[in-house]
Amino acid sequence: MSTKQQNAGKTALNFLRNNTVPLMFILICAVCIPISGFSPSYLLNEIITRLGRNAFLILSLLIPIMAGMGLNFGMTLGAMAGEMALIFVSDWQIWGIPGVVLAMIISVPFSVILGLICGKILNMAKGREMITSYIISFFINGIYQLIVLYLMGSIIPIAHGSIKLPRGYGIRNTVSLLNMRQCIDNLLAIRIGGVKIPALTLLIIALMCLLIVWFRRTKLGQDMRAVGQDMQVARDAGINVERTRIISIVISTVLAGFGMILYLQNIGNLSTYSAHSQVGMFCIAALLVGGASVDRASIGNVFLGVTLFHLMFIVAPQAGAKITGDSMIGEYFRVFVSYGVITLALIMYEMKKRRQKASIGEQLALAQKEEEQHE
């Protein structure tokens, strides 16, 4: 075998190794789409809707990855902040786009406080950020439930009976957001061949992407990248590592709050106690499906991830129903795949790290040998 062929083989192997998850999803979708029997226009419509609904949330994960803090499971905190803001806005009866804007503004202080707490804790758990942020989200969920279930209506004024539980305090399981449902999606919406394109939502997402690109070039963005590459080197270069990491988490939490508000305005109702519980998991799974890893993610990964992951979400129940006669199989399949893909990505990341370490070790050993031979 020639060197050229060997190199091509290595490149192909590397490509496969680096893109296992997206390729696996492309394969799943390629099998499930024909079985499901959905029309291309239906699938396109669904994908565009879900892109508008989820992309902003997933974009909020990019900045902590840039700062070397891995996948921010703590984005759930931002989601909770967004939900609290929406509860207030619903109670004050602020509808439509003003309601969405007001909710976003109100969510900021909540998100900043939660982000600061999360960032401070993560600084104490360097190297174990993902599991720590995952557990923090459970802890803050407890506090959120305490506030929403007991303090709202009793200490925090909530006026409307439609939001409050019949006992007089606490918020109902579902808060209707009907008066702001798809207000952003419908404004400037374009219809092409039966496919609704929520132009304004996509414009907001595009602006967010531009903001991230711009942010990477700023001093703070460069600092974050330096911190993400090597904390010690960054510290030696005079960067306040702890502060930079906290800022990255605060930004992520604030963006997650905005993303959750956009997400819920699309859905049109808020499951008070459970809407946020799976957000982190699904967003992270989507990002990983797009080919991102724990230490590397791009805007392209977000869009590829949303498309593939949600394509699987759409077709899996129907394909499951056609294959087994039971749609629940498909439902279980997609949840199982979400967890599976995160596990797979984490294992692959660890393997890659070990492989890199081993190759550095081999190179070092080789260099030593050469040195000894020279002597």
Partner: protein
Amino acid sequence: MNNKRKWIFRGCTLLAILLIAVLMFIVGRGHTVYIDNKTLEYNGESYGALQKSEVWVGGERLSKLGKRDRTMTTVIGNSFEMKLINTVNKGDEPTETTVKISLPYGWDGILVNIPGYLANLPQEAWMTEFIIEPTTEEAAGEEEATEDEIPMGDF
């Protein structure tokens, strides 16, 4: 000096955001307006319901109200405009009236009585707050419930 400028900039940004929030709070206030074609009793006098009233809101026909009929619409903001095409008695020529109302900020539901409005009565006669009482099912229905299990639902 540089530090001072930074703080001034931050303060101005915060102020601008607060102003936007206040603006949204005012312009985004939603109301449900109920429009009635019912006989109104006011100060011992009776103002009879119209034979027929077509209600147009935002260029679209909302409803065609007969005697004792009611319709509703939602409004964002503090002003409400509707066009009424009224037939007072059977066989009369329909007349067109444009109604512009300023809605009280604190009221969620607002009841507007057409005969009262057309009779040029004071505002408190034809505009009242409409409060929906929860049904017994709603009142008894939901209790606190949090979920321990992982929801299987869509995302």
